[in-house]
Symmetry: C2
Subunit: 398 residues, 2 copies
């Protein structure tokens, strides 16, 4: 019998899914499970985007250009330029979700065996894409006690080698919610210029910044034009995760051309999604205002609720829709499984993502969990009660 | 300035696109260009599929499961079982187009540095996916004089090494149109069992078999259940290339699980496409009958038309919608470019794909071209006239 490749066997499995069998069993036992484990928003997709799907009028559902349709790229460039990015439609490569943008960027920046530095905790699939590309992720610890701010530049300098090709960040951050400041981005700019590194920035959560904090992209900084690669998606911005439409943006022509070859190999991004996402660029501001207000209220509820539980610490993140909290427990993997397997309060329980899956350093974040606030406030409050009661009953409490 | 990875620089560019600048210039000069270079059918997508897009009624355009929705996989299993495949929905992994199915299959079967044998000429993007996966393609020449039949098993035996992990074929074939026979598949079965190799079969053109020829899949053969990986797409079957929906099918559980990890990393295949493709399974038989009749008539027109041009030889392929013809010329790359750059007849010319891009062996197929019969018969006849006049005038005629 033929054997699966060792590389495939060693491909990291998704950490947010490893508890799914326990959640399924809990549901089969009749428990209500609040899902705080995955970033699937419950927010409605903008009406204009849904209407665009329902209005497609082609007779042949044809390939689009590999780099995306001209009309979508033009409209999309307008969206970015309103944010002050100064890009051309030709700087955009439309991708199969933000996932493909990340994958292509890694392949275009680094050869197998070369390195990309990423502050941890980080979005777990970065590991999967790096494994697939044969690229090594070099993590740098960030810390819950300063809200997961950018590690000091000296820490980057320490692990930069001749194999380092890029630094990757996500801002606002998944899984921490941390929003990088202008000062932090400027420090990264100087570092990338000094060492000739690409700066990959995953901006999937750009629209979700709170408390009046300014969103800053390397596209707003001067001198980094040839280093910057923006990775984006419509998934979170328009609550359109199922569209599978993202993009890679770079003003580095060589990088764009290299990325295009990967895009040409898979022929085309999805056609209907591009039509819908083009319409979505016209989404009225009041949609975003309402969504932000909702997320903001949820964050406030969740952060305040967590911090009033004895022994729990949760920083107040500046963006995205995640929090990363420290719990008074021995092991978050064990606790999250226990919550599904052995606990319920009024026949309810909570599914959370143990933070270990977002760290590469062994044992880092062992008592931390990530929660996505993708439930309404009433459900969030019930989930908080479950967590409080669960922590009180958990045998591994510390 | 940071440098693009060497691997990206060495990523093969798409051979069917390299003449696009010449075609664009020809059009800018006012020439009409008949596009026989790319497999984008002009056939209308089934009405039921288009209606399904226009009827989506979700409020949140959400991720689907990474392996595809349960309802689509169930319906799709029904389509295959009607063809006699005996598969379960759980054997299906839904992908971002057939492209992703090929990419994932290569990664799951072979480690970087290992080998996959593919009869050539073959679909050029196999090279791109193999390059991306770090896998080496070992080509085996097939020949125009026997219509590109499977090379003798002895030729496979000769190049099988301890690094060989799989054999890949496409049936009916792109670029040759060749339809592999039951005897050929049985010979491959025995070979794969003998050497513990996976058999990857790209069946994108399954619905297009002519002259009453039987379509045979390894799924119809016994003893190959653990070796077979079917790669499929809705692109050609329903003229829905822009849906970007394919699938990988295998009864090898380990392989399916390994493939799932790659699928989980990119989260989800497109949601609307799955809804539409589920509806497409109910496409009435008369749709396929009409499409096949149209392609059959086109093939007959093109093959007969080519063979009556002095010095041209074109086998009569059993399936797909491509022909690969030999022309009385020095170099097909040069000829195809010349047709766009320096030739017109009644202000018309033809864009074709030089076959060199479909061969790995240097200089193989140097006087061959691939044509996709994706134009109506009237346009095909005009294209044939252009080719005949062009060959008469071409300075590199031999």
């Amino acid at each position: 019998m033929p054997q699966v490749s060792i590389k495939a066997v060693e491909m990291p499995a998704s950490p947010i899914r490893k508890l799914t069998p326990y959640a399924d069993r809990a549901k089969a036992e009749g428990k209500q499970v609040y899902h705080l484990n995955i970033g699937q928003p419950d927010i409605e997709t903008p009406q204009g985007m849904l209407d665009a799907i329902r209005s497609v009028d082609f007779k042949v559902w044809a390939y689009t250009p590999s780099e995306g349709t001209a009309s979508y790229r033009t409209k999309l460039a307008g969206y970015y330029n309103k944010l002050g990015y100064s890009i051309e439609p030709s700087d955009i490569l439309v991708t199969n979700g933000g996932s493909e943008a990340i994958m292509i960027a890694m392949q275009a920046c680094a050869n197998p065996g070369e390195e990309i530095i990423i502050p941890e905790p980080f979005y777990a699939n970065y590991n999967s894409f790096a494994h697939s590309a044969g690229v090594t992720v070099k993590p740098i610890l960030s810390y819950i006690d300063n809200g997961f701010a950018l590690p000091p530049i000296a820490a980057f300098e320490e692990i930069i080698t001749e194999k380092t090709r890029a630094i990757a960040i996500c801002s606002p951050n998944n899984p921490t919610g941390y929003l990088y400041s202008r000062q932090e981005l400027e420090a990264l700019r100087d570092l990338c210029i000094k060492h000739d590194l690409f700066l990959l920035v995953d901006e999937a959560y750009r629209e979700f910044c709170y408390d009046g904090h300014e969103f800053v992209s390397p596209m707003h900084l001067e001198g980094l034009e040839q280093h910057t690669v923006i990775l984006d998606t419509v998934s979170k911005r328009y609550s359109a995760c199922g569209a599978r439409l993202g993009c890679l943006i770079t003003k580095n022509h060589d990088l764009w051309q290299a990325a295009l070859k990967y895009a040409q190999a898979r022929l085309s991004p999805p056609a209907v999604a591009q039509i819908a996402a083009e319409a979505a660029v016209d989404t009225p501001q009041h949609y975003f205002d309402a969504v932000k207000q909702e997320y903001n209220a949820r964050r406030d509820t969740l952060v305040a609720g967590l911090n009033q539980i004895p022994g729990v610490y949760c920083p107040n993140p500046g963006g995205a829709f995640y929090v990363l909290a420290r719990l008074p427990i021995d092991d978050a993997d064990r606790f999250c499984q226990w919550m599904l397997e052995h606990f319920s309060y009024e026949n309810q329980t909570v599914m959370m993502a143990p933070a270990s899956g977002f760290y590469s350093t062994p044992d880092a974040g062992k008592n931390q969990i990530r929660m996505a606030y993708v439930l309404n406030i009433s459900d969030l409050k019930k989930a908080l009660t479950c967590i409080e009661k669960g922590l009180a009953a958990y045998p591994g409490r510390q």
